[in-house]
Symmetry: C2
Subunit: 223 residues, 2 copies
């Protein structure tokens, strides 16, 4: 290949988790300079022959211990001065997980890794404020076009959990009865027959998302 510019490539992952009826984001506290001791989005460099998706999965496994999570790239950030160490182009991803099923682990370059409520995100290192804002916009668009809400919930969930997730992501209030009427028409969201136990109120029916029925349904409406 001819003489040609080449670049360091990184991936940054905005990890959205859902727990206690709150949408949260995984942030790390940086162990090393630059921005030592400051908050940042977890990420790392692409290495060797891996794709950007493989690099992002690798980072996510280090961070969360999980291998089964939803990951979607949404933007490339390539401002020449975005990293004080030199020219680094980053591919930003967002990931979705049920935060209750994972413990965050501070990986190599982090002294802490914690869940942070989206109402209350601190100022972040590098251009990560922008990356986070764009991630939330991308999540909102994606969740309208694909059945991604279920990636944030346990496999069995109550309708109230599902409703509160939508309210949280889109920052609005939804009428319970109207919401349930709508869900009832979606036959890819189905009763499991089991119910919640031990709450200090009436037990709730647990539902699950049926991907096969959804695939059939969505291919029908597209044609």
């Amino acid at each position: 290949m001819k003489h040609r510019s080449s670049y360091a490539l990184s991936v940054d992952c905005v990890i959205f988790g859902y727990t206690e009826s709150k949408l949260q984001v995984a942030l790390i506290e940086r162990k090393n300079s630059p921005y030592k001791g400051k908050w940042a989005i977890p990420g790392g460099f692409v290495e060797g022959d891996e794709t950007v998706e493989e690099a992002a999965f690798r980072e996510l496994q280090e961070e969360t211990g999980l291998s089964d999570l939803y990951l979607q790239q949404f933007h490339v950030f390539s401002e020449p001065d975005r990293d004080p160490r030199g020219r680094v182009i980053t591919v930003a991803f967002f990931a979705l997980i049920d935060a209750d099923q994972c413990e965050l682990v501070a990986s190599e370059d982090a002294s802490k890794a914690v869940w942070w409520s989206i109402d209350d995100i601190p100022h972040l290192s590098f251009d990560h404020d922008t990356i986070y804002d764009d991630a939330l916009k991308a999540l909102r668009i994606a969740i309208k076009n694909q059945p991604l809400a279920f990636e944030l919930l346990p496999k069995k969930f109550t309708l109230t959990q599902l409703q509160q997730l939508y309210e949280e992501v889109f920052d609005l209030e939804i009428d319970k009865r109207n919401f349930r009427k709508k869900v009832a028409k979606m036959d890819f969201i189905q009763e499991t027959g089991t119910m919640t136990k031990g709450a200090k109120h009436r037990p709730a029916m647990l539902y699950s998302f049926n991907n096969k029925k959804y695939a059939k349904y969505s291919s029908e409406i597209m044609l």
Copy 2:
């Protein structure tokens, strides 16, 4: 900076143009190997300190002569074997222009550059078949969420042109009266007072898109 993998970075632009009531894509015939004489999406390498957006604009200006066009990145393709010359990571963009206002120019590495109807795209070089498919999907999602149709039309356009554009992009048929009823409610699409001339049928009112009114309107519905 430590020893670390670095990569050649390119941009590929799926340029959508609209002319004669048809959505088209600009393709080049490659002048050099690999894929010499085959069709491909125009693109080029990112150089020096430019952002990927700047690189894409540079390529588009070489290709179309235009500087005022809409450009949006939509995906990074990073399979290690996607380019037989070596490891090249590419950031894919789609661009929107009124094809009647530009003449395609075959740039450096192309022997031809032509508009090609989207009904009839040939097999493309590299992984460009995939890039093109994803571009069309990204265009459909984007055009539902932003007022991008107007980027493909002349500044003054008839409602029939606007309607046919939607029909073309989404591959469906729309009822003329219902479409016009809907447009009438959008006060950011406004009559210009001038009409088409010289057609061998009744003249049509020309409309224009008012970005200021749209901004006001869209900020209201978001809140």
